[in-house]
Each structure stands twice: as C-alpha cells, then as structure tokens.
Symmetry: C2
DNA sequence: CTGTTAGCGCATTCAT
DNA sequence: ATGAATGCGCTAACAG
C-alpha cells in the first residue's frame, strides 16, 4: 500500500517537491499557473498529505487533546461537542480521552498527548499535576469547567456562584427558608462556587443557613438518592437544590419513591440543565450552564493562545449561566 | 522548546540511539541491564517518544478515527464511550469527529483521517462513499449501527428486527391491535430493520398492519411531535412505538400536551433506551441496544482486523438487544 | 517565484 | 546483544 508523495506529484506536474509543498499546503510563493497545475496533478494521482511527516518536520500538529471525566454524562458530552465543533471549523482534530476522574488515567493520557506533540490540551482536571506536566513541556492548556489551585493556565468557567445564588434566590422568593443542598464535592471551584452562591443568597436575604441542610454525598446517582433519603428522614425542609445533573437524578428518584408531590410537598431544583429535566413531570427548574458554548469558548481560547494572539497573562473566561424556571418549584408549603 | 530525543538518551546512557529505541519502544534485543540503564536515563532527562516520527518511520499509527453523527445524542455518546474505553485499554487513541449527518462533512473527515494515516476508522456512515474511499486507501473500516448497501466492510449492528419484533409482540400480548409506528428513515438498515420487526410481529400473530399507522417523520423531536399530533388526530390507536430516542421525545411531548394518561389512554414504547426514559413517570418501556457494548465491539473488531487476526471475509457482529418493560405500556383500552 | 539541500526523530536493515 | 548507516515524507533555509 504505497501512497503517492510530494515527489510523485512533483514528477507528474513537472516541478520540484518544494514547489508542490508550497502550492498545496503552505501559503508560500507559487504562481497561480503552477498552483493549478500542481493541484491537478495531485488530484490525478490521488495524493494526500501525510500529517506525520508534516508534523515531524514543522514541529506543529493540528491535533488537540481533550481530557474529560465521563463522556456518558451529558455535561461532558456537550462540552466535547462544543469543543469539537469549534476545532473542526478551524481544521483541527480532537483526540478525546476519558479519564473517568482517575488521576492515574489522567496522567497516562497527558503522557500520550505529550508523545503526540499536540500544541494544546483542554482538560477538566482531576489533579493539578496534569495541567502542570503539560505546561512544563510547552503544551498550552485550557482548564474547562473547574480550577484546581493555582495552575496558571487559562480557564473557562461557568459562573457557579452567580448561578447558584440566582437559583436559591428564586426559592427564597417563593417563601422557602429551609432549603436542602445536595452536593458532592467542594474542593473544586465548581462545587465550591455553587455552595458559595447558595450561602450568598441566604445572606442577601438575612437568612441563616442551617449547616445540617447541606448534605454531602458522592458523584453517583445511587449515593445521591441514599443521601437524600437520610436528609429527608432527619430534617424538615420545603425545597432541595441538587448541585449537578447526576445528584438531581438521585434526589428525584427518592422524592418519587416517597410519592411526594412536587412542588406541593417539596420543591426541587438543579444546577446543570440536561434534556431529561424538561421531560419529567413536572419539569425541573434548573440552571443552564450553556455547556456547548462553554466548550466552544475553551476551543476558541486555546486556538488563540496557540496562534500567539493572546498576551502572556492567563485568561479567565466566565460564561454566565441562566435560570430556567419550570414546574418543579412552587410556593413553600 | 527543544525536547530530548533518543540521541540525548543515548548519550546519557552511554549507548547508541538504536539501542535506546530497542530498549524503550520496540521489543527487540536488549540486555536487561542495558534496558534498565536506558530507562533510567530517559526518566532522568524527561524523554518522551515522538509519535509523529515513529509513525512516519514505521508507517503505522495508534490513532483511530471515529466518525459519528451527533455527540449530543446519548446514543452516539455511549457508542463513542464504548469505543474509547476499548481503544484506551489497547493503547490506541480516539480521534473523534462529528459529521452532523452531513455527507460533505463526513467526506472532509475521511480525508483528514487519511492524511493522519490512521490504520482504521469506525463510522456510523452517512454515505457509502465514505467507507469506500477509506478502504480504497488501505484503511480498515468498521461500520457501526448501520449498513449502507454493500460496503464490504466489517459491521457491528444491533439486531433491530429482533428488538422491534419483541417490543411489538409485547404490545400485541397486551391486547393492542392498532399500534402506531413513528419512524424517521428506512433507507438504512437501522430503520428498515425496526420496521421489519414491527411487521414481523404482526404477521406472527396473524394481524394486518394498517399502513396508515406507520408515520414517517424526520430525525428531530419537534418534527416527531408534529407527526405524532397528525397521527393521533387522524386515526385511532391504543399504542405508539417510537423508532428511536429522539422520536420518543416528540411522541411523549405530544401525548403530554393532550394530557392523555399513559398507559391507560395510550401506551408508549421506544426503541433505544436512554437515561431519561426511566426518569419520566410512568417510565418508558424500551429496547436497550447495549450501546456501550456495541461501541466496545466495534473497537475490538477493528483492532483485531488491524492486527491481522481475522480472516479476509467481512465480519458481521450482531448485538442482541433487550426488552425492558416499564410502566408506559399496559393493557389495550 | 522556483529548485537544491538538509534534516525533523525514529526504527530498521545490516554488520559486528 | 549492540552500533552504524539509512531514509520514512515533508518543509525550512538558502540560493538563484
């Protein structure tokens, strides 16, 4: 299976290999006449560029690494979709790796991407070590959705605090004063921001937060259901906020199991709007993170960085979320 | 940003570049003692293999192209997740491209993958031209989920006919004789198979299919809702089968809009189980395609093909679907 | 504007 | 078991 090379095209067109290279790929000098002749010759013999050779020679690549935690979670799928869309438009390719939130897998992936000589990586980081090792090797990094300590890399975030604050405020406005908050982690900026927004809304309205109402669980629908069960067993509340789509699933399952009417008996709201939330009855009040747009922003930012269009200073892009009020939230009982 | 090369490692370890190559990457001869010394030297100076150089030299690549229609559809996301999982385990990378079901985008992607010299591609084909051009250039192709004419390539399919037949039979068993069937396309083996299964179940039970009950729509929830509306406006039926998850969304929306009780007034069932279907009330009776497993099979098959472990004859893998009975189907009114 | 020369980093001969 | 030499296909310098 020998494929034609620039040499072959050169012979066919009666020019030199470098002229072929210039005419076809590089925007170097080449007279329109020659350009056309070379193009024709290339088509005739079915020539197709070899990215490996080009990358090796010019030490650049148009492959971008994308490192996410769970492609089956619509949040990550949407994020990846937005990234891919933007990369494709710019003639870049997306190498997608699922690290399952596992630090070891994440590190393995980073090494692979290093080996591929990708110019940039977009990552929803599990460990600060991952962005660091990449940057230490000259790879541009954009952290998506969350921030771990001071990585120094560009970052694209949803304004979690503002979104959670608005959502909580909506409930307070409906008369709720005892609101449960279901959350998995607060080490990352994501969870921390949402919790901060929850607290801020209370403070804005002169309400104390009963710390018992903040229920810590793990990133798993079954665990979230169990935690919700314990929460509802032990305390009184008129509303629950779930900090993300997975936890919302668990909370909803538990409320349904009890056959509690939503929103009459209890209101339910979730951060991170995903499709099923508008299909259930009643549909859930949520905060839409504009996840696809978040992904697009990551890609745009990374590409600008790669092209050297940005000042050295790290950039922080915040995408404003939007409150979507639906039927699952109503006046406090 | 100059990264260390085999030369540098060789100097550091006091051996020749070829020995480094053998010790590190290739399983050629190298004494354990030297192997270790080279390994240590490599770690010390932070050496990392250059895939581009390796690929160029050995004309193989460990990147696999994956061409799908819509990453935001959980079906494709699950498929991709299954593929990625298997590829990662085998130390391959996934280059994921979304073609949006557009033949032009699909063809562009194929050319890119050709340029990347990937040894194989997994595609949910839009056009037969795509698998063809890839194969003509020596790239192994596995078609996922559907088959377009005679492509000659390996293919991994859900047994659509069997699944739809079982689903329809379930309804007939409940006493339904007038069942609507909502479908978008029947040119691909996917839709054709599901429709065939629907017919076969009727035939099995000596029932005529009223052709009017087969409602053709387009791959879009809004269109599906509109088609469902027309269908319910014009004909009597006691159940509806939606041929995929997107159409199910439209059908459900329309039934809810009418405030018809499910399953009392009408039963609803869907092909292609996705998460929201078990969250709505009542939960939907569906056919689970084992989509992730479908993806895994695609990757396994492709890798086996690449490694030359398979006989020349094209292979057709069928993954048996599974009927999941939930609350949305009940006795005919 | 075009051709010539050189070499990117690696894996593979072929010697030894 | 190891080393020297070669070239994968391409593009960046340089010269013309």
């Amino acid at each position: 299976m020998k494929r034609p090379t620039v040499q072959d095209v050169a012979r066919e067109a009666g020019v030199s290999p470098s002229t072929v290279s210039r005419a076809l790929h590089t925007r170097g000098y080449a007279s329109p006449e020659v350009r056309e002749r070379v193009q024709a010759a290339a088509n005739r013999i079915g020539y197709v560029l070899d990215h490996n050779a080009r990358n090796l020679r010019s030490r650049t690549s148009t492959s971008i690494g994308v490192l996410i935690s769970d492609l089956r979670n619509p949040f990550y799928a949407d994020l990846a979709a937005g990234i891919e869309e933007e990369l494709r438009a710019a003639e870049y390719q997306m190498v997608l790796v699922n690290d399952n939130g596992d630090p070891a897998e994440e590190m393995r992936a980073a090494e692979t991407l290093l080996a591929m000589r990708v110019p940039g990586v977009i990552v929803t980081p599990v460990t600060a070590a991952c962005p660091r090792i990449l940057q230490d090797n000259g790879v541009h990094v954009v952290c998506a959705d969350r921030e771990l300590g001071r990585s120094g890399s560009d970052v694209v975030l949803s304004d979690n605090k503002a979104g959670a604050r608005e959502l909580t405020e909506h409930l307070i406005g409906l008369g709720h004063t005892r609101i449960g908050f279901l959350i998995d982690e607060t080490k990352w900026s994501t969870g921390a921001g949402r919790l901060a927004g929850f607290r801020a809304a209370h403070a804005d309205h002169g309400l104390e937060v009963d710390e018992q109402l903040i229920a810590y669980t793990s990133f798993d629908a079954v665990a979230a259901q169990e935690t919700t069960r314990e929460l509802l067993d032990s305390l009184d509340m008129t509303a629950i906020v779930a900090a993300n789509n997975v936890l919302a699933q668990g909370a909803l399952a538990e409320i349904k199991r009890r056959r509690w009417k939503i929103p009459r008996r209890i209101s339910l709201a979730a951060y991170d709007d995903v499709p099923w939330m508008s299909l259930v009855a009643p549909a859930l009040t949520t905060v839409d993170q504009h996840t696809v747009e978040l992904g697009r922003n990551c890609a745009r930012l990374l590409l600008a960085r790669i092209r050297g269009e940005l000042p050295a200073r790290r950039r922080i892009v915040r995408v404003a979320p939007r409150l979507i009020v639906r039927g699952s939230t109503g006046p406090a009982a």
